[in-house]
């Protein structure tokens, strides 16, 4: 028994301070991302969510250049670009995706320039990698509590407008007919998503952040039709994947081919992907329909 345990949990797993921090912050980010993610998936805004995480590159590289804390770079970039995406887009999905894509392209071009300045002026060639692939084990300082506070604020906004937001997510027309200001609500959601995603990409890296946003939520929505249950399932899946991923990454320090450990984001994304594939095995009969979610929202 003891042998098996120490094979699963490499010695020192429970006493290492970086592991504690990674488990805690990872769980918080996973919880918040998965909850916001259910709305993102319901509103078919996965592309916007993914792009918002990508623009973390802009916030990160800009902050590196200016020498200010990355937190403010991420928050500013998230708000500005989230708002721009909502204003540039229209209700039709195709043209909305094109507008998102155009903004994403411009933002990526800008980050290319900022990263270039970072590398030439401060000769820190590792900046690109740090910003893009950020590591859960490298989180530190005041960033985490501040980021958590901001995301909690965003989450509170979502709770406040839960019902109208849910209704407008599943049926814009129905929501508009009930006198809900759909455009304003959409903008609010984009701003909340902008801040949440940008901050989570600050903590867990630009790659992992969108996966945590979309993956657990998409899997949960295949398992249950009810939005609240989906949020619970998504949060549980996200936290489970994060913790298991941290454990595997810790163990992987002793794996081949290198002795330096595999990236934690790879494990978490891999686990989320497996969870999504498994969720497809169960046949719920049908996907969540407008009526199902609307009946809960009304």
């Amino acid at each position: 028994m003891g042998g098996t345990l120490s094979a699963v949990f490499e010695p020192g797993f429970f006493t290492s301070a970086p592991v504690h921090a990674a488990l805690l912050t990872g769980a918080v980010v996973a919880l918040i991302s998965s909850t916001v993610g259910v709305f993102t998936v319901l509103r078919s805004q996965s592309f916007a969510g993914h792009s918002l995480a990508d623009l973390g590159t802009l916030g990160g590289s800009g902050a590196f250049l200016l020498g200010v804390g990355p937190l403010w770079g991420f928050i500013a970039a998230g708000m500005v670009v989230g708002g721009a995406m909502d204003l540039a887009g229209t209700q039709r999905r195709n043209s909305r995706d094109v507008a998102t894509g155009i903004i994403l392209g411009a933002v990526l071009g800008l980050s290319a320039l900022l990263l270039y300045f970072d590398t030439t002026e401060s000769s820190t060639t590792g900046v690109t990698v740090t910003v893009l692939f950020g590591s859960l084990f490298a989180v530190s300082g005041y960033t985490v509590p501040a980021a958590v506070a901001f995301t909690a604020l965003g989450l509170a906004t979502l709770v406040l407008c839960y019902r109208p937001l849910l209704l407008s997510s599943v049926s814009t027309d129905l929501a508009a007919a009930r006198g809900i200001r759909v455009r304003l609500l959409g903008l609010t959601f984009m701003l909340v998503m902008g801040v949440t995603v940008a901050l989570s990409s600050l903590i867990v890296g630009t790659i992992l952040s969108p996966a945590l946003l979309i993956g657990p939520a998409a899997a949960a929505l295949r398992l249950t039709r009810r939005p609240l249950a989906a949020m619970g399932t998504a949060a549980a899946l996200g936290v489970a994947a994060t913790w298991l991923g941290v454990l595997l990454a810790y163990d992987s320090y002793h794996w081949k081919p290198v002795g330096s450990g595999w990236p934690v984001s790879f494990f978490i994304i891999g686990l989320i992907f497996i969870a999504y594939m498994l969720s497809g095995l169960r046949k719920p009969g049908r996907t969540p329909t407008t009526a199902d979610a609307a009946s809960e929202a009304v």
């Binding site: 792009s51 094109v98 392209g105 990526l108 790659i207 450990g261």
Partner: protein, 262 residues
């Protein structure tokens, strides 16, 4: 700017601009923007993997972009398309992060795979790019009519017996091929901008396919040429000029369309 060592750059980038505009027209028409973002990212992971095990990076690019594209096509039959795409792009980038953590690749290499490094191409690159681009255009020419029909009027295409899934997978393979051609030269992020910006701008001012395709090609070529010239003069990364340029074309086209009430 037009010295012999720059010739390869001008030719390769022009070929890529044409391919990106042609394929990108259908990307915009089919609303496959997210897919166009995902596939070059998969190609990036492939390049990282190939350099790790020491095979030709072209093989890695091809296999990963094709694999990623087909995975998106097949999985999204039973699930939300955009959520599936987001998952695949995450998976691919995760794999890329894994490969990079194993390799001892120097950071600038990664940077150039993402943001492009067009200065200093060789004549070998020109040949490879030209061949791949020709294949790409040939495939596009062969499936042009059914692809156009299934992109604009899916129900009519279905009624005429054009298999939607097969066309979709063929189209995704085409995007993968275009990405394989372009990513080693212009980088994953740049290729996305080129595929979306010029065609979206062209579609904003005209709805007829032939003029829109021509305009998209012209705009893409103009973007690339201006970007190379500006990048040569300022030494700034080419990705910046292409990304901003594509966005400006789109804004301009939207403004013109609004002014003329098109």
């Amino acid at each position: 700017m037009f010295e012999p060592f720059m010739q390869a750059t001008w030719i390769t980038a022009s070929i890529i601009a044409v391919v990106a505009a042609l394929v990108g027209f259908f990307v915009v028409l089919r609303g496959a923007t997210f897919t166009a973002h995902a596939v070059p990212n998969a190609a990036f992971a492939g390049a990282a993997g190939a350099s790790l095990i020491g095979v030709s990076s072209l093989a890695g690019l091809g296999i990963f972009s094709l694999g990623g594209a087909l995975l998106i096509g097949l999985l999204s039959r039973r699930g939300r398309h955009d959520a599936v795409t987001a998952l695949i792009v995450g998976l691919m980038l995760g794999l890329g992060a894994l490969f990079l953590s194993w390799s001892t690749e120097y950071a600038p290499e990664i940077y150039s795979l993402l943001f492009g490094e067009v200065l200093g191409l060789s004549s070998n690159d020109v040949t490879t790019t030209a061949i791949l681009a020709l294949v790409c255009i040939a495939v596009l020419a062969c499936i042009y009519r059914p692809l156009m029909l299934s992109s604009t009027l899916p129900e009519v295409a279905e009624a005429r017996g054009i298999p939607a899934l097969r066309i979709d997978l063929l189209f995704l393979a085409l995007v993968a091929l275009a990405s394989t051609t372009a990513v080693p030269v212009v980088g994953a992020l740049l290729m996305f901008s080129l595929m979306i910006g010029p065609p979206a701008a062209a579609r904003a001012v005209t709805t007829h396919p032939a003029p829109a395709i021509c305009l998209a090609v012209v705009l893409a070529l103009a973007t690339v040429w201006i970007a190379i010239a500006a990048s040569y003069q300022t030494n700034w990364p080419i990705g910046f000029f292409v990304g901003i340029g594509c966005a400006l074309w789109y804004v301009l086209a939207r403004a013109i369309a609004k002014l003329c009430h098109l």
